[in-house]
Symmetry: C2
Subunit: 281 residues, 2 copies
């Protein structure tokens, strides 16, 4: 274990830095700088002033613009009771220690209806999040194509290929993404609002307490206004991170004793990405 | 073991190719191409026409030029009985199965004397090889500095730093380097003659039969004209590759049965680097 802890330190000393922050660039890098200083060493960075020229930066702040542009679009909306989809959660509230991997209740509806549910969370007993990861910006949301560049030129040159997928996520402050890993080079551009990230390098994998959880799916009943969690049949196991980095005050003591490698180890890298900024990760 | 063999295949299919050859470029790449297509994916390549403008390409073919330019230089010369320094060899000829890691007999002498021993191997009972890896081109051989560029600009831009060391090796056709790994990005420029390489990707490490060998050093006696191998005291073990890819006809059967992963696995990547070419590896 001591060797692994030394590895955590070395990854920070040699590559990512010990500040706990993510490096920031005031303007887009050249393709060579981007590849050499960030992509090759697998080092995240936040790039400011990279998308200021996108019409989306101003127009998408107005719900009326989006509703008009997407008046006839049908989009995927994901519902959860608490904003935590694709996370390890108790399979029933009486027994907080038996966890499952819970997916959202997914449904399709006209975009204007979906947006209304997202921006008015207090009028519902669920948290709504519009997403569909399979290149949805170029399918469900293709009516917005002219509001953004089709790709990010310095990244395209650095990586030697156009984006394989362009996804759009529309949510409110209640949506939260649990710790996960992506197999892709990601450029995460915030167009409106902001998103807060906690990042850990791959050398910290042991701090994630990855365990197999049985897959389940939320089912929302419009009649009762309640969610039930339905286990997948036949059972399927999903290896997932066990750690919630922000446990509730009453759960904190238990979380710290169950996940000491996370809570007693080095702090994750934190950054808040604001409208007009891109996070490379 | 089957998983590891699948890994060998995948490394070839996804990255290095199945031709058994090394990719060749007819002219130097841009820094971005070099970083993106070769350095980032850890893929070797041979670049032609990269050093044609170096005066060394013509002047170093003349021994008289080198002898004059380095008339007062003292250089390191490494002697072995067979051209195989830093290799696993039998510690005594009566017992071919007990191997040690043998270093050369090293001595310093005026460059003109050293060159004479290198270019006239048949007048001696040893193989001489001028080398000293600690940045020797910028120290022992600094009188030749103006014959080459001080660095390779497209590689400097791609890697974001000047060379940490520039080494020169001067040998004849009898010198042979055993399988080894380097922890560095290397650009190997051949100025005169040619060098034949066998390359294996890191995923093939299991095929190398790396074992610990006790360190020993050749000692050459001018009186007897004979080499003895002296074990280091106290004993020091060196982890080294056990495989000689070109066993003698009489040793071949035994080598193939002792190192089946090497001899029955995919062929190593072969390339011959000629004067004026650079191998990136």
């Amino acid at each position: 274990m001591r060797e692994i802890e030394a590895l955590w330190e070395e990854a920070r000393e040699l590559s990512l830095g010990n500040s706990g922050g993510v490096e920031r660039l005031d303007s887009p890098p050249t393709p060579l700088q981007f590849l050499r200083d960030f992509v090759s060493p697998n080092k995240p960075c936040v790039i400011s002033n990279a998308t200021r020229h996108w019409p989306a930066l101003s127009s998408w702040s107005h719900d009326s613009y989006l509703t008009r542009a997407l008046s006839s679009a049908h989009v995927s909306l994901h519902l959860t009771p608490n904003g935590r989809a694709d996370a390890a959660v108790p399979i029933n509230s009486d027994d907080p220690s038996t966890l499952c991997f819970a997916s959202a209740h997914a449904l399709r509806m006209p975009f204007p209806e979906a947006l209304n549910l997202i921006v008015n969370p207090h009028s519902t007993n669920f948290v709504a999040y519009a997403q569909q990861q399979n290149d949805c910006f170029r399918s469900e949301y293709s009516a917005l194509a002219q509001d953004c560049d089709a790709h990010i030129p310095w990244a395209t040159d650095a990586l030697g290929c156009l984006p394989e997928a362009v996804n759009l996520w529309v949510g409110n402050h209640l949506s939260e993404t649990s710790f996960h890993k992506d197999h892709y080079e990601n450029l995460y551009a915030v167009v409106s609002g902001e998103k807060h990230f906690l990042l850990l390098p791959p050398t910290d994998v042991h701090r994630m307490y990855i365990r197999n959880y049985p897959a389940a799916r939320y089912s929302y009943s419009q009649d009762t206004g309640k969610f039930t969690l339905e286990s997948e049949k036949p059972m399927r196991c999903v290896p997932w991170c066990s750690v919630d980095p922000y446990p509730s005050p009453e759960a904190k003591h238990s979380a710290m004793s169950r996940f000491p490698l996370y809570f007693n180890g080095p702090k994750p890298f934190e950054c808040t990405v604001k409208a007009g900024e891109i996070l490379y990760l």
